[in-house]
Symmetry: C2
């Protein structure tokens, strides 16, 4: 097919496309070889094995998301930034479900360190600059933010909200508003503030 010759980059790219079309599980060396009109064994000159291929697609997805996140965050702050960043992940997941799934692929420690994982944490922290949170709390907030976004997107993609009255869109904005409100609050709302003394059920 491709008269250009194979390349790691090209393989990873078409692997990502394949993932988006047929699911990340469908990303197989055989399928990829077929797609390039080439024998399976030939791929081993470019990637070490199928895990290597999948890892690279994972890295690609993580990078792409980080890039878009950085772009989206430019010139925004506060709630605006929060909504923008969260939107990036959700949109990416919708547009590229296979890549998004790839991004959750279990990397080994080496790749994980080299991955753009830290960049994402940086983006989250950038958003939080718009709210004033001190150090122990800021990390908690980063994690909460990540949890909400990832959890919502996963559930939505898994069809968890499919047959709901209020459509997912509304819940999405509601959740982000809630998150924003939460982060904006001074110490009174946030935990580690004195918890009200356990009112038990009426």
């Amino acid at each position: 097919m491709a008269r250009v010759g194979l390349t790691v980059a090209r393989l990873v790219e078409s692997g990502a496309e394949l993932a988006d079309e047929a699911g990340f599980d469908a990303v197989t060396l055989s399928a990829l070889a077929r797609r390039h009109g080439v024998k399976v064994a030939s791929l081993y000159s470019h990637v070490a094995n199928s895990h290597d291929l999948r890892s690279r697609i994972c890295l690609l997805a993580v990078e792409e998301m980080a890039d878009r996140g950085a772009t989206a965050l430019a010139g925004r702050a506060g709630r605006d930034a929060l909504v923008a960043l969260a939107g990036v992940y959700r949109t990416y997941a919708h547009d590229h479900p296979g890549r998004y799934a790839a991004a959750e692929y279990r990397l080994d420690a080496v790749d994980a360190a080299a991955s753009a994982g830290p960049r994402h944490a940086g983006l989250a922290r950038a958003v939080l600059r718009g709210y004033d949170l001190d150090e122990p709390e800021q990390t908690h907030a980063v994690r909460l933010m990540g949890s909400v976004i990832r959890g919502f997107v996963n559930l939505e993609l898994a069809g968890g909200f499919s047959h709901g009255e209020p459509d997912a869109e509304q819940s999405w904005t509601w959740c982000l508003d809630a998150l924003d409100a939460l982060l904006r609050r001074p110490a009174d709302l946030r935990p580690s503030a004195p918890t009200t003394p356990e009112r038990s059920t009426p």
Copy 2:
């Protein structure tokens, strides 16, 4: 091995054990047959195919979690209930990572409907009875709750919080406290209340 003879139930159960030991991906008909000292073809008398097997394990996990959730919720309300239910999922995920992964397995619509998915929604709603939320918002809250829990657990399991200063445990209680505070608030904090007029960045 097992002199008792195979059974769907037994296969699913040992499949779940296998998942916890070696990961859900390792749950294969061959592996299961090996584990039972039986030939692969024999399994086809009990399960339709490997997807069927995995689906059943998924259903098992979903059921088990729902059961534990229901138990945990008995006699609890408000924050107490929230913490208990969330704890059930997190603990289950830690104790049975393979089953937890199985629970995210993509079921086809038929199984999905029959699954205990609705039960989980019911549990979430039970928790929310401790807070007073009216209908459009209650659904949003159910989804937010689900997102936070699932997101946090997934990230934690994926090793996302591994090298953090504040350990995951602290972030977990912080997040739940935040969620509790958020749900407890009257209309003022919650969205759909008038949003402050977009203060842009300084």
